[in-house]
Each structure stands twice: as structure tokens, then as C-alpha cells.
Symmetry: C2
Subunit: 346 residues, 2 copies
Amino acid sequence: MPRERGADPPKRITSHDVAARAGVSQSTVSLVLSGSPRARIADATRTRVIEAARDLGYRPNLLARGLVQRRSFALGIVVSDLDNPFFTEVVSGAERVAADAGYGVLLGDAREIPAGEHVQRLRERQVDGVILAGVALDALPPDALAGANVVVVDEPSDTHPGVASDAFGAGRLAARHLLELGHRRLAFIGPASESHTFRMRERGFVAELREAGVALPSARLRRARPSVAGGERAMRALLREDEGTTAVFCANDLTALGALKAGAAAGMTVPGGLSVVGCDDIEMARYVTPELTTVRVPARGLGARAARLLLLALDGRDTGALTRKPLEVQLVLRGTTAPPLAESCP
Amino acid sequence: MPRERGADPPKRITSHDVAARAGVSQSTVSLVLSGSPRARIADATRTRVIEAARDLGYRPNLLARGLVQRRSFALGIVVSDLDNPFFTEVVSGAERVAADAGYGVLLGDAREIPAGEHVQRLRERQVDGVILAGVALDALPPDALAGANVVVVDEPSDTHPGVASDAFGAGRLAARHLLELGHRRLAFIGPASESHTFRMRERGFVAELREAGVALPSARLRRARPSVAGGERAMRALLREDEGTTAVFCANDLTALGALKAGAAAGMTVPGGLSVVGCDDIEMARYVTPELTTVRVPARGLGARAARLLLLALDGRDTGALTRKPLEVQLVLRGTTAPPLAESCP
DNA sequence: TTGTAAGCGTTATCAG
DNA sequence: CTGATAACGCTTACAA
């Protein structure tokens, strides 16, 4: 039952109330309740205060605390798409370490409201730091991040620390796997530019092919939004315009799932007639049939690490160790890849 | 590059600074910047202030504002499991309407830290209201919610407004569909008690069966955590202990996905040998093969509605209209259900 | 050991 | 129309 507007102003209990009940001054209350664990306070007073607080059900007002300490003990995280399981994993990883450290987590989804706007708002709310995931830095207003503590996930930046996965390596891994299976007519499906990570996955893939002397004709390089629908559409187009493709690497799992769907709809058998490799290893990858071969990117690890990094930075600690090298990715062999059919070989 | 600890205290720009630059008093700045749209302010001063603010890049401190207004313009949302796509959809729906209304969204995942603790913290942060999803109210400390603006998703409460889906109806729908296909040996997989919604789904299912004179022997009522792993395990057990089952209804899609996996692993063909119905219609449901027949529950609609409801309540507006009837659920026919094989019929 | 007092950055109430 | 001035609830020197 919602409180009536202005009906019963349910008196907030403040440290003054506690002070009154305990018969001490307000600052003493503050001292024992939040001050250094062993502030010089007589045991008698201390317990009196604590009891009074308990009796009254006192809860400190963190806004007030934040105001004076100039620190909110909250951090913001803005992601490009909350419906992408990869990002929810990042969020969930970050939320966990933040909450464990007593930090609040403010969430922003950049689909409706642009990332820059979210960052702006978060800063007005005085978050101590911001994690950006799936957000291209150069898409933000010039100094949206000026003077802010920011950690970027999977984006390069020479102004902010970041955590990243080895996207280039992911592409290489996928290519190598497919090459080793004997595929020579490979395709790639991925977004046009979007984020750095996607670009690097593509480059890694292409680089590995080139080194193996295998070409990637433009007809087999399909652009698509990194979603299931995007992958589906791109795959349909690929099947329509190109006959010989025996294997395709998708920029992320969602895309791969779409490709799988389109492939099935077109009567392709996977992996018999077509091999598919995804990237991310979202949970879903294991639930499709056949299970998706993919390159595992530790999403929740990225989120957790980003949060840890941010917390360290907030404490003025050295962030070097965490920011160094990209998190390793790993090929996960499952059911959507196999050698090409004999007749498909060049 | 993280700011050095205490190195350059990047002076926060306050309304005082703006006042100084505009040559007016601080309160005037506040007046023009946040006061009622057409506060009685000379146009000259107004523009002077606005320019000064722009030049300085002034951003109001929402903590300070919240402190004096006793309102933070933020709301909290705590969910039982951030990795369950159903809840991330709820969150995403709520985030969207909250953000559109200028509210901040604080997130809490109850897997690591209990929901009650999250609520506590959110209240200390002075959130104006809290949305609870997947959280059983009676699992919370007695007066964790006392005097708070709370909206519960898919849980009954006579003390707080809530939004709910027609869980009982969902169970009925699933049962009716299966019965109409000709199934008579039905099973149910779901959690022991967990949340009210799960209980109602089960009851609706059972009620419909009973009305049709079909029994649900205890061997076909399997308990499982509402996750893929849970469903998998339960399905394995079911297949081991019971031969005749021709169709199973799972308390949620995750469970159904697990059941599908276990079924496939055991060599069952779906829907030929076994029909499976899920509940929720998470995105994933369309990406498995065959696609999962399920009962669609409008998760993001629930989240959005919960947020709207909360915002209304915060404005002291009537919440009756929104809180009335449960959101409708809908059977989504896809590929995991079919008539039982002839030999399977009793 | 504990109380007094000065803010933190806003909004809000009044005078002028 | 605009400027003092008093909160908001808390932390933190500095006194006592």
C-alpha cells in the first residue's frame, strides 16, 4: 500500500535521534558508528550508542555521508545493450565485486539513452567511478570523461585504464581451428565498425587466413549487426550469393546463433555442410543443437576485473598489475565444426 | 590513467562558482537552473547564469539536492539471479522507464548478498523506491520494507503493490495444450517452493490435469532448481525412474532447456518421443532446435510496469489501475510439442 | 574521552 | 526579481 502523499511523514531517524536517546552528542554517535573502528571512545558510551542505534533502527544516510566525504561509494556501469547476455555477464561480474566491497552499482543501458548522457548523469550522482562496456570511447562527447575514474572494458584507451580480452587472438584461434579442419572457403560475419573488439576479432581472423595463404573474398565478408537477427540476415545473404563457403566465423555468439538459424532454415546441415564458430561463449552457446563451437571470452571475469581495477584506482593504489595483459581467450570445441565435405574442397 | 591519490584535487564546480562568474548570488543560480521552469527571473540574469554554467561546465551535485529534498530520484531493483535472462529482461524494462523519467537505477543481485541486505543498503542510499523481482517477501527480515515504497514483481503481497503475470493461467495453458495433443502421461519439473510464481505455475498445471481426470503420480513430479543444470538433472532422474512419460512441463525455460539437453543426451527425440513445454519465453527459447514451445510471460513488460507503478506511487498518484490484474500470458507453439506416439498412449 | 562548530552543495523561505 | 539565511544529515578538526 503506497504511502499517501504528504500524509504521514515517517520521520527519518537521524544520528541526532540516536544521540538524544544515548545521551551523547551527535558527533559522538558519528564517531562510534562510522569512525575508525577503534576511535577513542569509552566502552560504556560506545555500547550505549550502539544500543540506542539498534533500538531506533538507525540507518545512516549515505547521501549526507557522500556529500561531506565527497565520495559516494557507488559506481556506475553503462553497457551498450543490456539484452546481450555477454554484457549482462559483465554487469553481473562487476556488481558482485562492487557489492562485496560495499559499493552501490548504478546501471545504464545505452540503447535508449546514449552512453554519454548516462555518464553525465552518473557523474551528477557523484559516482566514484564508471565502467564502460561495449561503449566506443570516441562516440562520447569530447570531455564526458574528463577527470573521472573510468575503466573501459574491451576498448582501447590511452587515457583510461581498461580490461580487455585478447580479441585478435580470438579471431586467430577461430581461423586456425577452421584451417586445421581443412576448410579453405571461409566467411566472416560481423559488424561494420562498432567496437574495437569486433574489429580485432575480424583482423585476427583475417591475419591468420592470410598467413595461411587463404583469401577472404569480399563476398564472404558479411556485415551484420551483432545480434541474432543480424546474423540470420547476413547468413541468408551469404547463402544466396555464395555457394562454396564451408565455414563461417561470427563476430559474436549471438551472430553465430542467427547464422545457425538461417543455415537450418536453408536446409544446411551443421557441421556437415557448414561449420560455424562463434565468439564469447555465452551460456546459450551450450543449449543449441548442435552446441556451438566458439571462442570463450571470460565476460564475468572482465566485469569483475574492471570493478576491481576501478576500486583499486579509487584507493589510489597501483593499477598496473591488473591493466597489463588482456585476458586469455580459449577455443571451445563443440558441435558446430567439422572437416569440410570432400566435394567442397577446392 | 588513474588520478594520483590526492594529487590534483580537480576542483568540483559548484553553484557558487557559477554565481561568482555570473555576478549573482548562489541562490539565484539555483533558482534559474533547477527552479520551476519560469521562475520569476529577469531574462538578462537568467541567460547570464546559464552561460556561466555552460562555460564552467557546471553539473549539479545530486547528492546535495537529494539531501535537502529528501528525495534521491533513484530507485533500486534487486533480483534473485542476474544470470537468469528472465530477470535481466525485467531489469532492462525497469531501467528503461526509470531512466526515461530521469531516475537512477541501483542494481542488486541476491545470489551473493541476500536480498534483505541489498534492500537495507539501497535504503541507506535513500532510493525513493525499490523493485523486487524473484524475491520471496517472507524471506526478508520482518520490517526490511517498513515505510518504504516497494513494488514486487510476481509475488503476492497485501502490504505492497505489485505487478504479476498470470502464473496459474500459465500452468493451465501448458496442461491444456498437452492434453489436447493427446498426452496423458505428463510430468512436471519445478523448484520445491522458491517463489509464489513457480508454485502457481505448478498448481495451474495440476489443476487443469485434475479437471481432465489425469493423474500426476509423484514420480512424475520432479523437484529441481530453476536453472538449466537443475532441469537437466531432474530430467535425467525422470527418464531413469519413469518410462512412460510422454510430455513434461517445466517451471521455466531454463529448466526446459536443461530437460531438452538431458533428453537429447538420453537419445529421446523431441517432440517425437517426448514433448516439452517451458515457461517465460526467454530469447533463448527460439534458438534451440527444435525451438521451445513455451508460455510467454512479458518479462520486460513486467519490469517496465513495475517501474511505472513505482514512479506513480512516488508522485502520490493512484496506483490502482496498474496494479489490478495480472499481465496475460500466452502459449507460444513451437517445435518441442507434438502428439504422443501411438504406442505411448495408455 | 567527548562536545562544539564548521562545512559538504543544494533547495527553500523570506525579506528587501 | 534577487539575495541572505536556514536547513538537509553527516564527518571532522579543534576545543574542552
